[in-house]
């Protein structure tokens, strides 16, 4: 049983160690890599959403003087690689063989001397398509007679993927049946995209002589990739090395194995040279893991005076053409059943139905914490709908229903055990920071003048840090992560992690954890990550799991080092280990501080000829494979203030107040940075980001001209606050924070805009057109082409 440190993690707002190279333009991103003889790959993609391939003629491309290889689905069939397992126990096509099933699907791969020639060669490949009707509207996917997308699956006669439910249906129905007030609302969380600034890509180098395959990949989960290549391609795992160098943002976009990655491996095997493939932005937006696309029908039951009694939700989940969502096996709808939110409910139930459509596969990405974004948006939107119905202030309604501190640990009506929280305190702090009452007064005065101002709240509870291996695996790989801490003879240390930073500052924060545990200065601690040859196994970084899982692993490993140091110090001091006391960086005999042995001295002795007690081995190392006993539950209270121009529908986000509780903060500067970034995501999704499709399945958000991301001008200066409620089961009490702001913020912005215009609901993104239409009483569907 691990214990919670009562002192805060040391070294606080330390500047980041990794900055040195980035500031000088000396980062090592995948596209920076140049290897001798390296070739470049490019992918030919389907221009249509659903069609039979009647012929592919690659002869002209093969004749191009700079082209070294052209690979088609037929080539891959011969290698047994045309289809690979998808992350959710489905299969996905690496290169289309029979049909293409979404616009942008991979059809052929060219390997050439340089990227310009590779791009030219794509135009020389002639593919003939026979168009088929496309399913673009998820709500039509299960219509009788709908075209079957996955006719590659034997016996498949429809587009249904799964049904899943959680909670007690009978109890929930009973609560609704007797409720004073029931509010129902259709709520769409549209398809959006993480769009990291660096697109996805890989260099694969198969060394024919040694049989070693070395891969440099923009992946958040290098070990998972290695194991999957071994399982799928039949390559011996000890001969595969996956390196994640510097990654220019991940946000869940860089978790799974994309066809392009497999193609670089095949390309390298076929040509005998290293092959690089870097996707362009349109490929990123059209063919890599999107996020959300949850069509939700929510209902909330309450008493007449605003005591919420029940929640029930039916969800239609659009998974695209292949089910490639990165979900833990037992949770096809991820952790959506956290939709119970931050409130004390009598009952709750959800049903999720997953369907195929002729769109890109995916769904779990963009800081979603495995569908926690959808769940939080649902509950925080519908609570506002209830407030609207009851004519009650949304802050008052929330305060009345928030879980109380004495209720923790709290098991919610769908089975999550929330670890800790003081919710009312966080909400009160946010309201104080915002000057809530003054804002409401200002709103009232403005309304009288015809000026529209809105105040929106969001109170979120997340469930992150997956997870206990008994319950959580991805493709059978348990979600426990390892860490190793070694102290060198001269007292410097190295910590090796299985998680993978894409900007979160791991090189600094993990050094801080070890520094605090061992008293070694952080600059003397090297953090190694991102290379399967040099790091312990783990499932990588996503779902805000690095601190809850790997942070715990590191803390436990460092603690083991400290305890071993105790034994060695005891040997040095010829005392009993029980007579020693620790003060950061040294062990000394109780009552005799002068006797202290520093960790550096202990390290040297452990490598020397000091006689060690029986059963104690030399060196000063510790390791841990941490199996988290539970997830952690960060939470927060957000308040957004907007001004809306009634004549044009334009929204200006004036202020955003965010109070976060992620337990103790190892490096508050880094935590705040994580929150800032996520808040911008909320502005983006609430006001401008969407991937819509026209009836033919054409992707309407395939470039940054159409898929709009917020800039510094749309974002206000974020106002942050904090409360600290440690997790009782984490060795450091830490909960994780990487996704909190992305999870909590969209509802705050949407609630604010709808509050401004006095409309109960309209779907994101609330572009000027949608705001104006909502004011006319005619909001439109945002997942389809606007007519």
């Amino acid at each position: 049983m691990t214990t919670v440190e009562s002192n805060p993690i040391g070294f606080g707002r330390m500047k980041r160690k990794e900055d040195a190279r980035f500031l000088r333009g000396k980062g090592n991103y995948v596209d920076d890599l140049q290897l001798p003889g390296m070739l470049h790959g490019a992918i030919l993609r389907s221009p249509v959403a659903h069609a039979r391939i009647t012929s592919i003629d690659t002869s002209a491309a093969e004749a191009h003087p700079k082209v070294k290889a052209v690979i088609t689905g037929k080539t891959l069939e011969g290698l047994g690689l045309a289809w690979i397992p998808a992350l959710s126990h489905d299969t996905l096509a690496v290169l289309a063989t029979d049909k293409v099933r979404f616009q942008g699907q991979e059809v052929a791969f060219v390997v050439a001397e340089d990227r310009y020639a590779a791009r030219d060669a794509l135009e020389l490949i002639d593919v003939q398509y026979e168009a088929l009707p496309a399913i673009v509207d998820a709500r039509r996917a299960l219509d009788p007679g709908a075209p079957v997308i996955r006719d590659d699956i034997e016996g498949k006669a429809d587009n249904h993927i799964f049904d899943w439910e959680s909670g007690d249906k009978a109890a929930t129905d009973a609560v609704f049946a007797k409720a004073d007030v029931v509010v129902a609302q259709d709520i769409l969380y549209p398809r959006v995209h993480p769009a990291p600034m660096e697109t996805c890509g890989q260099v694969a180098d198969m060394d024919k002589v040694t049989g070693k395959l070395t891969i440099w990949c923009t992946t958040q989960a290098p070990h998972a990739h290695r194991t999957l290549y071994a399982l799928v391609a039949g390559l011996p795992e000890h001969k595969i090395r996956v390196i994640s160098p510097d990654i220019g943002g991940g946000f869940g976009n860089k978790v799974g194995i994309y066809p392009g990655y497999v193609l670089t491996v095949v390309g390298s095997i076929v040509t005998g040279k290293p092959v690089k493939w870097m996707e362009d932005r349109s490929e990123n937006l059209m063919s890599t893991s999107f996020a959300r696309d949850y069509h939700m029908h929510g209902e909330i039951a309450s008493t007449r005076d605003g005591k919420i009694t029940g929640l029930r939700v039916k969800v239609l989940a659009d998974h695209g053409a292949f089910n490639n969502t990165a979900q833990p096996t037992k949770f096809p709808a991820g952790f959506f059943h956290i939709f119970t939110g931050s409130y004390d409910l009598e009952a709750a139930h959800c049903e999720v139905t997953g369907v195929y459509t002729n769109k890109c596969p995916g769904g779990v990405a963009y800081a979603c914490s495995f569908r926690v974004t959808e769940a939080v948006y649902l509950v925080e939107r519908i609570v506002d709908c209830l407030a609207n119905e009851l004519g009650m202030d949304p802050a008052e309604l929330r305060m009345k229903n928030l879980l109380r501190p004495e209720q923790f640990p709290y098991t919610c009506k769908t089975g999550w055990e929330y670890d800790s929280g003081d919710y009312p305190r966080a909400l009160r702090l946010a309201m104080d920071m915002a000057g809530y009452d003054e804002l409401r007064a200002e709103q009232k005065a403005k309304r009288e003048r015809g000026e529209l101002m809105g105040i929106g709240l969001s109170f979120f509870t997340e469930t992150v840090g997956a997870g206990p291996r008994k319950h959580m695996d991805i493709l059978g790989l348990g979600m426990a992560d390892g860490a190793e801490v070694r102290v060198h003879p001269t007292g410097k240390a190295v910590v090796r992690l299985s998680v993978q930073t894409q900007g979160q500052g791991h090189e600094t924060t993990f050094a801080q954890i070890v520094a605090e545990q061992l008293g070694i200065p952080p600059e003397d601690i090297d953090v190694v990550h991102g290379d399967t040859d040099n790091t312990p196994f783990g499932l990588g970084t996503y779902g805000s799991r690095s601190t809850p899982v790997s942070g715990a692993a590191v803390a436990v490993a460092a603690n083991r080092v400290r305890e071993k140091a105790r034994i060695i110090a005891a040997a040095m001091l010829e005392a009993s280990p029980d007579d020693l006391e620790w003060e950061k960086g040294k062990w000394f005999v109780k009552g005799d501080p002068a006797s202290a042995k520093t960790i550096q001295e202990i390290a040297l002795a452990s490598h020397g000829n000091l006689e060690l007690p029986p059963g104690v081995e030399g060196h000063l190392d510790g390791e841990c494979v941490y199996d988290p006993p539970n997830l952690t539950f960060p939470f927060g209270a957000y308040i957004c203030v907007v001004d809306v121009d009634p004549g044009t529908g334009q929204v200006k986000v004036r202020r955003f107040i965010a109070v976060d509780d992620c337990g103790p903060r190892i490096n508050p500067m880094i935590v705040e940075g994580q929150v800032h970034g996520g808040l911008a995501d909320g502005v983006g999704m609430a006001l401008m980001e969407v991937m819509a499709f026209d009836p033919d399945g054409n992707h309407l958000g395939g470039s940054f001209m159409d898929y709009l991301l917020p800039t510094a001008v749309e974002c206000p200066s974020w106002e942050l606050g904090e409360t600290v409620t440690p997790s009782p089961h984490h060795p450091l009490g830490c909960k994780g924070v990487g996704e909190s702001a992305t999870v909590g913020s969209p509802a705050a912005v949407v609630n604010a805009v709808l509050d401004a215009i006095g409309v109960r609901h309209a779907d994101m993104p609330l572009t000027p057109a949608q705001v104006w239409r909502a004011m006319q009483g005619r909001p439109f569907r945002t997942d389809l082409a606007i007519e």
């Binding site: 000088r24 333009g25 600034m197 800039t711």
Partner: protein, 155 residues
């Protein structure tokens, strides 16, 4: 062309983009690319003293001109105040948009040594960051404005 003060000459295809010339031909990989439509701004460099999106300039168009990349900000082992500001204020996370942001900031401060927050945000509104939410980028530029002298930094 002159790149970071050095005369450089290469034979290239006319269609070669300046960003690829810098990265692939000159090995200056500090300049990045991130989109197809001149929107994201991670490719920003200076050309003839002004920030430009190097993905939307042909190398041939830069012939005879001077180009400055992020690698030129540090001088004799001393970080530019803009670089120092980004470190002090945690203005970067993944680092991918950072070179472009810093070059724009440097240009802004050379022309407007005491910008308001609104002016800073406007100056970088053609460049996207997905990590920082822009808050600390603005603070980083303010820091540089308030500490204009190059300071010694351990290399």
């Amino acid at each position: 062309m002159t790149v970071n003060g050095q005369e450089v000459t290469r034979d290239v295809e006319p269609r070669l983009l300046l960003v690829h010339y810098l990265r692939d031909h000159l090995g200056l990989t500090g300049t990045h690319w991130g989109c197809d439509t001149s929107n994201c701004g991670v490719c920003v460099v200076w050309m003839d003293g002004e920030p430009v999106k190097s993905c939307t300039v042909l190398a041939a168009m830069a012939h005879g001109r001077s180009v400055r990349t992020v690698e030129d900000l540090e001088r004799n082992g001393v970080l530019d105040p803009v670089q120092q500001g980004f470190m002090e204020e945690h203005g970067l996370q993944c680092g991918f948009c950072t070179p472009g942001m810093m070059l724009t900031a440097r240009w802004l401060l050379d022309h407007n040594p005491d910008p308001t927050d609104a002016e800073i945000r406007e100056a970088i509104c053609g460049q996207i960051c997905r990590c920082t939410g822009y808050e600390n980028i603005v603070r980083a530029v303010r820091w540089a404005a308030e500490h204009p002298a190059h300071e010694e930094v351990p290399a």
